[in-house]
């Protein structure tokens, strides 16, 4: 069972992403912000779904920090956020994000993206 790390300061979003992914056969691990996520990334994680606006360390900072570690250069990361500014999307893309989803997300599309990126 593939393990997905869901990073969001909103328990509501974590619950909904977790429910959609677990029903699709994924195992879900949760983190409440970027700092928490960095501490939870390990070799068992197949992919990250990450909010952008979070306390302590936001999603883009987390992504950029993650890519400085050679072990996680190719780890798929998709941003899931209320933000939709092209500048932010471009920054995430440059940092190596594999996708961008604007909240509220549609479960079936999110699951399809996760399945595709973890295949």
């Amino acid at each position: 069972m593939k393990k997905i790390l869901v990073i969001d300061d909103s328990p509501t979003v974590r619950q909904q992403v977790g429910l959609a992914l677990s029903q699709a056969g994924f195992q879900v691990v949760e983190a409440v912000d970027g700092v928490d996520a960095i501490g939870k990334v390990d070799a068992s994680i197949a992919m990250l779904i990450c909010d952008v606006n979070m306390p302590r360390m936001n999603g883009l900072e987390m992504l950029e920090k993650l890519r400085t570690d050679a072990r996680w250069k190719a780890l798929p990361v998709v941003m899931l956020t209320t933000e939709g500014q092209p500048g932010l999307i471009e920054r995430a893309k440059k940092a190596g994000a594999k996708g961008w989803i604007i909240k509220p997300f549609k479960a079936e599309l999110l699951v399809a993206a996760v399945q595709r990126l973890t295949a």
């Binding site: 909904q16 209320t82 509220p104 599309l109």
Partner: protein, 299 residues
């Protein structure tokens, strides 16, 4: 002016505190309710999953496939009845052949009895001849004895032959009855075999129909469950309004903080302005096109 600016900044800070406190209060309430709603939906899906699993177990177990218990039991019983009726049919056929053989033997007995009767007639002639010779030879004791013995033998043969005749006659009357009864039995057995085969075929057809119906029902149940899951995800997606609203409301605090910095700078007042309570990557007031919400952009 500086005092006025500090008062204004202080009021702005208090307003921010109240705003953030109220937003957090509302956010906490909606978050609790949203999480509860999410758990309810999750429970609905779990109950539906359990129900379908139970339905599948109940229906698929006895009749769902070729190797299910009921299908195997019906096939076994059908084979048993087929073998049994075939065995009875074979026994009746053998019995018919034996009855035919008995009828033939009775006819042969009758022929043999006629032959015995013919020989007995010859014996009677010999007896009469011996008596005639005895009278010609003035009562020769030899011919008298022969005539007497031949007459006794003839009577004994006639008596025995009558018994054989009577038995043959009785059997000739009984055997056709036996043949008729045997033919009737054969017809009954044949009709039973035919009916049993038809009924077994009917049961087979019913089992096949039931299996098809079970398959269809399970497929419909799976589709219904998929629909339940899809609808629940749609419902849950709507509940994300809480996070979207919370972030939008807390962004107001960031704008007021920016405004406070601006006022302090414009009026040249040194002030301690707390940072925005909710970190945002950008504080631009950019309206996100919500029709794009949920769309996945993969790079």
């Amino acid at each position: 002016m500086a005092a006025l600016a500090r008062t204004m900044l202080d009021r702005l800070r208090k307003t921010r505190d109240r705003l953030v406190a109220r937003v957090r209060q509302v956010n906490q309430t909606t978050e609790t309710d949203v999480l509860a709603a999410g758990r309810h939906v999750q429970r609905v899906v779990e109950v539906a999953h359990r129900h379908i699993a139970r339905l599948r177990e109940v229906l698929a177990g006895p009749v769902g496939n070729e190797d299910s218990d009921l299908a195997r039991a019906i096939r076994s019983q059908a084979e048993h009845v087929r073998q049994h009726t075939a065995g009875v049919g074979q026994a009746v056929a053998e019995h018919t052949a034996q009855v035919g053989a008995v009828a033939n033997q009775v006819r042969l007995i009758t022929v043999a009895a006629r032959e015995i009767e013919r020989l007995n007639a010859a014996a009677r002639v010999l007896s009469i001849n011996a008596r005639i010779e005895a009278s010609r030879s003035s009562g020769s004791s030899v011919f008298s004895t022969i005539a007497s013995e031949m007459q006794g033998l003839s009577k004994a043969i006639a008596s025995a032959n009558k018994t054989v005749y009577d038995l043959a006659n009785a059997m000739e009357k009984t055997v056709p009855t036996l043949v008729r009864q045997n033919q009737h039995l054969a017809r009954v057995v044949d009709a039973f075999s035919h009916e049993a085969r038809e009924r077994i075929d009917a049961v087979d057809r019913r089992v096949a129909e039931l299996r098809t119906a079970v398959g269809t029902t399970l497929a419909e149940s799976d589709n219904a469950l998929a629909e339940v899951v899809s609808e629940s995800h749609s419902a849950l997606s709507k509940l994300q309004f809480q996070d979207v609203c919370a972030q939008s409301l807390l962004q107001i605090d960031g704008w007021v903080a920016d405004l406070s910095h601006q006022i302090a700078a414009d009026l040249g007042v040194a002030a301690s302005i707390p940072p925005a309570v909710h970190a945002t990557v950008t504080n631009d007031d950019v309206e996100v096109n919500r029709s794009e919400a949920g769309q996945v952009m993969l790079f």
